[in-house]
C-alpha cells in the first residue's frame, strides 16, 4: 500500500455536511470495537492504475475467487442520473435515508435517530477506503430503535460510505439497505452489540451494473443476537467481507443469504465467525444460484477458540447450477480448538431435480415456471430467518424478479 501518498482526491465520497438527523440517541456504554482502526487514511483514488494497485490480488487466498478487475471497471463507469428512490423503500415505518453516490440526499431522507458523523472504516483493505462521513446509529441501553431503511443509489464512478451501529446493553435496532444503480459502491459497517442487544440487518444488492463491496465487522457481547441476511439479485459484481466475533457468552450470530448470478456476473462472499466465548451459537446459511457463464462463490469460516466450549455452529453452503456453463465455488472452513463443540456443516452443488421438473410439467406448469418454483424454494432456505414479513416478502420478490430475467 505504498501508493497511498499518490492517491488523487476521491470522486464519490460524501463530503457535504449533510446532517439533519439530530444528535444520536445513544450513550457511550458501548465498548470500543475489537478491530483496530486504520493506521493510514486518505481519500480514495480515482479509478484506474492507482485503484488497481490498491486492490488485493487474486493470488491472495481470501481473494482467489475475487474480481478486482470488476471493481476497477465499475469505478470507471461514467456518472449518470440518479434513479427514483421511492419504489425501493419498503412500506414500513421508521427512519429513511437516500444516499446518492455515497452522499446523503437530505430532501429525500428522514433520519430521526440516525446521525451523520465522521466514521472510521477500519483496517480492512476495502473498508478503510470508506473512512470519512457516514451514518451512525447509537442506541442507549434497553432502548428499541425504529427501523432504519437506506436506499443507496449509485450513478457511476466509485462511492464510499462508512457506517456504525452501536447498541448498548439490551438495546435493539433493525436496518434494511437496498443498493440500486450502477458504479462501485464500497461500504464498511462496524457493529457492536452490547450485552443482550439485538440487531437485525437485511441487505438487498440490486444494482444493475458495477460492483458492490460490503465490509461488515461485528462484535457480539454476552447474550446478544445478530441476524443478518444479504441477497445479491442484481447484475453487479459483489464482494461481501464479513468478520463476526462472538466475544460474550451465550451470544447468537446468524449471517447468511443468497447470491444469484447470471450472464458473466461474479458474486462472492467471504465471511468468518469467530467464537471466543462460551455457549455461542452461529448459523451461516448461504445459497448460490448461477446461470449462464456466471460465477457465485461462497467462503464461510467458523473459528472456535480454545475457551469457547459448548459452541453450536451450523454452516450450510449450497449451490445450484442452472446451466452447466456456470460455476459455483464453495469453501466451508472450520477451525476448532475447543473440545466440547457441535459444528454441523454441509456443502453441496447440484442441478435442479429433473424428476421434479417433469412432475411439475406433467401437472401443467411450463418448464421455465417449474424451474423458477424449484429455484425459489432452494433460495428460500436462506430467508427463513428474516422475521419481518414485509422484508422477507421483498427478498422473495427480488429473487422472483431475478428468476424472471434469468430463466
Amino acid at each position: 500500500m505504498s501508493s497511498l501518498s499518490q492517491i488523487l482526491p476521491g470522486t464519490g465520497r460524501g463530503t457535504s455536511e449533510a446532517g439533519g438527523g439530530g444528535a444520536p440517541l445513544g450513550v457511550s456504554s458501548v465498548e470500543a470495537p475489537l478491530h483496530p482502526a486504520a493506521t493510514r487514511r486518505g481519500p480514495p483514488p480515482r479509478a484506474g492504475e492507482d485503484l488497481r494497485a490498491e486492490l488485493p490480488s487474486t493470488r491472495e487466498e481470501s481473494w482467489r475467487w475475487g474480481d478486482p478487475a470488476a471493481i476497477v471497471a465499475a469505478a470507471e463507469l461514467p456518472r449518470g442520473v440518479a434513479s427514483d428512490a421511492g419504489e425501493w423503500f419498503l412500506d414500513l415505518p421508521g427512519a429513511r435515508a437516500v444516499f446518492v453516490d455515497g452522499v446523503l440526499d437530505e430532501a429525500r431522507s428522514d433520519l430521526r435517530h440516525v446521525a451523520i458523523a465522521q466514521i472510521d472504516g477500519g483496517a480492512h483493505v476495502l473498508g478503510r477506503r470508506t473512512t470519512g462521513t457516514g451514518w451512525s446509529i447509537r442506541v442507549e441501553a434497553n432502548a428499541e430503535a425504529e427501523l432504519f431503511q437506506i436506499v443507496h443509489i449509485a450513478t457511476g464512478g466509485e462511492n464510499q460510505l462508512p457506517a456504525e451501529i452501536m447498541l448498548a446493553d439490551g438495546a435493539s435496532a433493525s436496518v434494511v439497505e437496498t443498493y440500486v444503480g450502477a458504479g462501485w459502491s464500497n461500504r464498511s459497517t462496524r457493529m457492536t452489540l452490547g450485552k443482550g442487544a439485538k440487531l437485525t440487518r437485511a441487505v438487498r444488492l440490486l444494482q444493475t451494473d458495477g460492483f458492490v463491496s460490503l465490509r461488515d465487522e461485528v462484535d457480539i457481547h454476552a447474550g446478544a443476537s445478530l441476524i443478518a441476511t444479504v441477497l445479491g439479485a442484481g447484475d453487479a459484481g459483489t464482494r461481501i467481507d464479513g468478520s463476526i466475533i462472538v466475544s460474550g457468552d451465550d451470544a447468537f450470530a446468524e449471517y447468511g443469504g443468497a447470491l444469484l448470478t447470471r450472464n458473466d456476473q461474479r458474486q462472492e462472499c467471504a465471511v468468518s465467525v469467530r467464537h471466543a466465548a462460551l455457549n455461542g451459537q452461529s448459523k451461516q446459511i448461504w445459497r448460490a444460484v448461477a446461470a449462464d457463464k456466471s460465477t457465485a462463490s461462497l467462503a464461510a469460516r467458523v473459528e472456535v477458540a480454545r475457551d469457547a466450549q459448548k459452541t453450536d455452529g451450523v454452516q450450510s453452503l449450497r449451490g445450484l447450477l442452472l446451466q452447466r456453463t456456470a460455476t459455483v465455488n464453495l469453501k466451508p472452513e472450520l477451525e476448532i480448538f475447543a473440545d466440547d463443540v457441535k459444528c454441523a456443516h454441509g456443502a453441496t452443488v447440484g442441478e435442479l431435480d429433473q424428476r421434479a421438473l417433469f412432475y411439475m410439467q406433467s401437472r401443467g406448469i411450463p418448464h421455465a415456471k417449474a424451474q423458477a418454483l424449484l429455484t425459489r424454494a432452494f433460495v428460500g432456505d436462506a430467508f427463513v430467518q428474516i422475521a419481518d414479513e414485509t422484508v422477507r416478502e421483498a427478498f422473495v420478490a427480488d429473487a422472483d424478479a431475478w428468476l424472471e430475467r434469468a430463466l
Partner: protein, 247 residues
C-alpha cells in the same frame, strides 16, 4: 379420444416400445397389465412427454391432436393426467402452491381466467375431504415426508383438482393398504367415470380392478400389446400368470 398407432419408443438407444397400438374411447376404462420390463411405465412416460424418451415411429392422437407434438405442460392443459408410480418430493414448495400454479397454468394455456385464492382453496379443500386427506397435508411441501399411501392419495387429490379428460395411472395401487386402495379406487371412479372421460390403468395386479372395473384389459409384453380382452382377462392373468398368456 386416444389413438396410439404402431408406437416405437426408445430410451438411451434401447427400444422399449416396439409397435404398440391402442384405441381408448370416451367413457372407457382400459387396464394395461404385463410383466416387469414390458414397457408399461415407458408407455405412461411417452404419453406424458417425459424428456429422454424418444419416439422413433408411430403416432399418438388425443382428441384429434398430435399429442407427441405437445410439450408436457401442454398435454396436461389438453386434459391428460399422468399419475406417477413414484410421486416426486418437492421440498420448499407447498402442495397448495404447487396445485394452484398447476391449475392456473393449465387454465392460462387454455385461455381461461385464473382461479382466485379463495376459489382455489375451496376446490382443494373439497377434493382433500373427498379423498380423506387431512387439509393440513395440503399446506406441507409436496410429498415430503408422506408415506407411500399418502403420496398416492395426494395424486388422486391432484387429479380431482385438475379434473382431466384422460388419466394415465401408473401403478397407482402399489404401496396401498386395503383401506387406502378402496379410497383411491373410489376416487378414480368418482373423478373419472364419466361419458366424456377415459382412464388407462397401468397395474401389475388384479386387486385395483376389483374397485375400478375395466372395460378392456390388455397384456403388454416386450413393447407390444399381445392380448386384449374384457375384465375376465385380468382374472385369468391373476390365476395363470403372464407366462402362458403373453407367449
Amino acid at each position: 379420444m386416444l389413438k396410439i398407432e404402431n408406437l416405437h419408443a426408445e430410451i438411451d438407444g434401447k427400444e422399449i416400445l416396439k409397435g404398440l397400438s391402442l384405441t381408448v374411447n370416451a367413457g372407457e376404462v382400459h387396464a394395461i397389465m404385463g410383466p416387469n420390463g414390458a414397457g408399461k411405465s415407458t408407455l405412461g412416460y411417452v404419453l406424458g412427454g417425459r424428456p429422454g424418451y424418444e419416439v422413433t415411429a408411430g403416432s399418438v392422437t388425443f382428441d384429434g391432436v398430435d399429442l407427441l407434438e405437445l410439450e408436457a405442460h401442454e398435454r396436461a392443459a389438453a386434459g391428460v393426467f399422468l399419475g406417477f408410480q413414484y410421486p416426486v418430493e418437492i421440498p420448499g414448495v407447498s402442495n397448495v402452491q404447487f396445485l394452484r400454479e398447476a391449475l392456473n397454468a393449465q387454465r392460462a394455456t387454455r385461455d381461461e381466467k385464473p382461479l382466485s385464492g379463495g376459489e382455489f382453496l375451496k376446490l382443494a379443500r373439497g377434493q382433500a375431504d373427498l379423498l380423506g386427506m387431512d387439509y393440513d397435508m395440503l399446506k406441507r411441501p409436496v410429498n415430503v415426508g408422506f408415506s407411500g399411501g399418502e403420496k398416492k392419495r395426494n395424486e388422486m387429490v391432484q387429479m380431482g383438482i385438475v379434473n382431466p379428460k384422460f388419466a394415465i395411472l401408473d401403478e397407482t395401487d402399489s404401496g396401498l393398504d386395503i383401506d387406502a386402495l378402496r379410497v383411491v379406487g373410489d376416487g378414480i371412479n368418482r373423478i373419472m367415470r364419466a361419458p366424456d372421460k377415459a382412464v388407462l390403468l397401468i397395474t401389475h395386479y388384479q386387486r385395483l380392478l376389483d374397485y375400478v372395473e375395466p372395460d378392456f384389459v390388455h397384456v403388454l409384453a416386450d413393447g407390444r400389446i399381445v392380448r386384449s380382452g374384457g375384465k375376465e382377462l385380468a382374472q385369468q392373468l391373476e390365476s395363470e400368470g403372464y407366462v402362458g398368456i403373453a407367449a
